[in-house]
Symmetry: C2
């Protein structure tokens, strides 16, 4: 039997080379059982002419499939589906029916009712995306990241790519963080005091699991990062939301029963306030009084382009009571999922054991690639480039906001990547966001950052991390217009 050339057609949507498309077409035909063992494929000449592509492309695809033992060749008589090619199973799946399981009963714990808003996956297709936390392809150093990844894919690094590290991390990444990243934040730590995590999100989650129980109390900033709120709610601890002011978290308001304090001193999320030095000292003093520990999310310290970053709280901590959360996902790119926890060895040991149980370890290849990117200086160059772009965008934005009289509720003294905005009282920013979408404008409604009932609904966040400077003025003007209407 021969496989008819007519069954082949090119998909114009296909992402990848022509060769890989042909290869994939044939592999899928075999896997799905459409092409059977010993069936003969169209000759390379025939298939090439049918598809209107070069014959060498078809030959290369066939050769690759020969190497993978999907095909065999029989001298001049052509290519055949190999006797060793994978076979589809000979059993049919059972007929799909209604589930006989009552999932509302079977599900023991629910996680889908959190605070974290759904975000548009297609944000990049909007003209005025004032969205937070996505990488700007124009700023990212794709070429060098690619080179570092290539190096990490090399034979020398095979072990770091493939090995099951159990509960360990890539020693090179840990060493770089200990010797270079942390000293620049004024922090000294040994490798046993550092744990690589799947981004800051994962670091916060691990900290909450180790430190909190139903009988403990966590003090959090209000407003705060909504995903942290979800994490703490899931841990079922008592929560003390503390209203932040223009200097961030006020230490005096932390209730005496507090066990753990979560704070973002570099840039408060979402108000972007920077905590002054005196208050950092006061916060440490307050934690000492209460014998509480502090989880410091050193949020966006890299984005300090208006002033040098303040020393991390952790660098002032003589008691060992600060647990430090750092992230590469924000500054390199969020899809990376790479961050770290720094804390006393007893704490890190528990966080490490929990991480091993949940996911073993962050993929080795990613850790090694980041280690190269950092140690070759690309990371610093990237941060510098981002800072310069953000400084410009921020200036343009500040001017546009002033011009339209839009009220800024919070802005970082040291920089950051967004403004925290307050609309007039009667505006519901969730509705405002809906109204702006068809006009190509994405903004982030602010109510999900607040805790408890009676959350104000007239705040919103405008990030300038993903929008080019030359679109900011027009975007802001559309927001101002929508608020006026």
């Amino acid at each position: 039997m021969s496989i008819s050339v007519e069954t082949f057609f090119l998909n114009p949507q296909f992402q990848g080379t022509l060769q890989s498309q042909i290869q994939q077409m044939i592999a899928e035909g075999i896997l799905s059982g459409r092409f059977r063992k010993a069936e003969r494929l169209p000759s390379t000449r025939k298939l090439a002419s049918h598809l209107g592509i070069s014959r060498i492309t078809v030959t290369l695809a066939y050769t690759e499939l020969l190497a993978n033992d999907y095909l065999t060749s029989r001298g001049r008589s052509g290519y055949y589906v190999s006797e060793n090619a994978p076979v589809p199973p000979n059993y049919k799946p059972v007929q799909r029916q209604e589930d006989k399981v009552d999932w509302s009963r079977v599900i023991g714990r629910r996680f889908s009712d959190g605070n974290t808003p759904e975000k548009p996956q297609d944000w990049a297709s909007y003209r005025f995306p004032f969205v937070y936390g996505q990488a700007d392809p124009k700023l990212f150093d794709h070429a060098n990241w690619r080179l570092c990844a290539l190096q990490a894919l090399g034979q020398k690094d095979f072990a770091s790519l493939a090995t099951d590290y159990y509960d360990q991390d890539d020693p090179r990444l840990v060493e770089f963080i200990a010797r270079n990243t942390l000293p620049r934040r004024g922090i000294v730590a040994r490798p046993e005091e550092i744990l690589i995590t799947m981004g800051a999100q994962n670091a916060l989650w691990l900290s909450a699991q180790v430190l909190l129980t139903q009988r403990r109390m966590a003090a959090i900033e209000d407003p705060c990062y909504h995903a942290l709120f979800d994490i703490l709610n899931q841990s079922r601890c008592h929560l003390a939301p503390i209203t932040v002011d223009r200097d961030g978290l006020p230490p005096d308001s932390i209730p005496p029963e507090t066990d753990v304090i979560f704070t973002t001193p570099s840039h408060q999320c979402p108000t972007t306030a920077t905590m002054p030095m005196a208050r950092r000292q006061a916060l440490l003093e307050r934690a000492r009084e209460l014998d509480a520990v502090i989880v410091e999310d050193d949020y966006e310290f890299e984005m300090s382009f208006l002033d040098a970053p303040s020393p991390a709280l952790k660098s002032l901590d003589a008691d060992g009571r600060v647990i430090y959360v750092g992230s590469f996902s924000k500054s390199i790119f969020p899809g990376l999922r790479l961050g770290y926890l720094v804390g006393s060895e007893s704490f890190i040991r528990e966080a490490r054991a929990l991480r091993a149980s949940v996911l073993r370890h962050p993929p080795g290849h990613i850790q090694r690639t980041a280690a190269y990117f950092l140690s070759l200086g690309h990371y610093d160059a990237l941060i510098r480039r981002i800072r310069e772009a953000f400084r410009e965008r921020r200036e343009v934005m500040q001017e546009a906001l002033d011009k339209h009289g839009l009220k800024i509720a919070g802005q970082g003294m040291h920089g950051g990547s967004s403004f925290w905005m307050e609309a007039p009282d009667h505006i519901d920013t969730e509705k405002l966001a809906e109204k702006l979408r068809p006009q190509g404008v994405l903004i982030e409604p602010g109510h999900t950052f607040f805790n408890g009932s009676g959350r104000p609904r007239n705040y919103y966040r405008l990030a300038y991390s993903s929008i080019p400077a030359n679109r900011i003025t027009e975007g802001v003007s559309r927001i101002a217009q929508a608020i006026r209407d």
Copy 2:
């Protein structure tokens, strides 16, 4: 000021190119504050001759550092540390003291007292590593993995690399699993019924969190995968360990109060027993009677080289009560950390929300690379190669075990990657393992696979997944000798 050429020396241990070593040396000198702004670097000629390397290598490193703005060049007068180079902080870290925190009190939950044994990181340096679950560099298709990773690092795939997917997965990987991987196990699933996880470990962990509470009961196989035991202990549910026989989990022994049944029908872990078809039907029937759900870890189904794999339990499940766990980490390489969960949409929704809270999503780059590797047919070729090697190793091992009269307690009818062994009653296999280590032999003591008190201490696992066939006979002979002594 000039930086003396004497401060530079090559590190023979350095992993990477000469150019990257020079680049890194200079970047680190600047980051640590040893090299200061406007200081002049040795000329390329001088540094090259001092290190005994080619001048072009030094020039390339300098050029890279110019591009990263660590250095500037002033015409013919040479290279200088740039005015824009990163500066070390001007604050000193506080002096390290004893922690003032009582961590034994502060830590709310402990995770470090689990069952999972520490494994030697340096297993590859042993001559007879009968260790389970590490990639064999001789079998792995490094070249094609590298090509797929390169493609996934391309400009076209920038979004899949960099984007914060929130709670979503790479649509291409999900599509491939739905259209190709699952149908070969007899399973039909829509994308909403599939969740990408950080390996099977993460899939089991997520399932346990969603399905179990302190008031529920889980039935598990005894012996079983030790990390599953840790996961379930942490969830504080009631546990019913059920002794497996040569056909795996006996359905009649599952107690009536059971809510969730964890099982490994393809190859029971660690005995490698394959559950026969009739028992699979009986197990589904028993679950129906109890209105329990089943979590099926389709462990090592790819390694069925002695007989075609049986249909997955999930493929026989008309009620929707089976949750299916698949893994690419075992078959591609464990450092990958990639697996998937398949189940009813209501269940997957909760698992997805929890995953988002814990870590957002598995890194995009890894998902896309795996999608390419799978869809180009490299995965099947890899599995075929592994199967052939394992078949040979298993034959050699069977022969050696028989020759020395070592007792096999369990072996897969369909293949697998290990033998489950029983030593004479008086042998403690943990001590046996210690004794064998200095002889270059690594074995896995079996007691950590058993539950509760009175665990037998005379079982052990011998894997042939990482040891070449030509070392097996000698390795087994050393084990036999150590048992006799």
